[in-house]
Amino acid sequence: MLHRNIVCMAALFVLLTGFVKPRNFMMGNEKKWLISESSSLSVNGTTNINKFACDIPAYDQTDTLTLSRGNKEIILSGDIRLKIQSFDCHNSIMTHDLRKTLKEKEFPRLHIRFLSLSDIPELTIKPAMITGFVDIELAGAAKRFQVNYQVSIDAQKNIHLLGSRDINFSDFNLIPPRKLGGMIKTNDKLSVAFHLKMKALN
């Protein structure tokens, strides 16, 4: 009797789960990439008197990105949370000003959430050009962007994901810094580029 119940339960389990398509798969399984600490992000902008370049030279966490095939698209899931305090504009005064503009005290982290890729990247030394969507959350406001990516792999099997995108201060309800009654002002547009250096986990 017990044996029969077990067989029935096993059959029921197969019936209930057998027709459910695996949510994420890619050639049978998903790929996991471990983000290394040598990943970086840079922001370039202009004012009416000069240009500035600020960067976060190293990522202080170890996170993973997961690449899998969804129903209609390639899913790239995972996120990175960067400390606003880590921004360095190579000029202490400008660094402080940028952190203040980005409301570091209220919102100490810049959050990039990866969503999708346009194609399965070919991992070769020559960079493959693809696009993808990300959600960027900055100063308490989030916005979805399409990002241009270059994906490649080097001789040490490090995967390089370079993403770039122009964003605006106003996309995040931020006011570009303006000084002396607006005689000195920062332009709204910022060019953001990030370089994720990763290792495949499987």
Partner: protein
């Protein structure tokens, strides 16, 4: 009183054009002098722009009263009276303020010197206008 207000207002208008016009041209042609203003010490969100542009009038009304009170001490042609007035204002008011600003704030000698020279020129121009309008 009427002379103080009228000459203060006219001088304010002249200083407005002179000061902000000069500042605009300085930013345009000598941009490197202004990079230090990207500093959290300076207001960035535009909320105080009206106050910033009112400065020429606050300055001219205050100096107009000062001129009316002490104009007898400034002698000679209007240019000399203006220069002496500018120097007196700079030594009495500007120098101590610039001194304390530099000692307390994270600003450079170049920045504080430029403020001193800017104020000296403004007061000198104001003195010349007062010497003509309220001799």
């Amino acid at each position: 009183m009427k002379k103080i207000i009228v000459s203060g207002f006219i001088t304010g208008c002249i200083l407005f054009v002179f000061s902000y016009g000069g500042l605009y041209l300085a930013v345009k042609y000598f941009p490197s002098l202004f990079t230090e203003y990207f500093n959290p010490l300076f207001n960035s969100d535009g909320s105080r722009d009206v106050l910033f542009y009112m400065h020429a009038f606050i300055f001219s009304f205050a100096l107009s009263w000062f001129w009316d009170r002490f104009k007898a001490l400034f002698k000679g042609v209007f240019i000399l009276r203006g220069i002496e007035f500018g120097l007196v204002y700079s030594v009495i008011a500007l120098l101590p303020v610039m001194w304390i600003s530099f000692s307390a704030l994270d600003i450079t000698v170049a920045m504080v010197s430029s403020w001193f020279i800017y104020g000296l020129i403004q007061a000198t121009v104001a003195g010349m206008v007062f010497a003509k309008l309220n001799p």
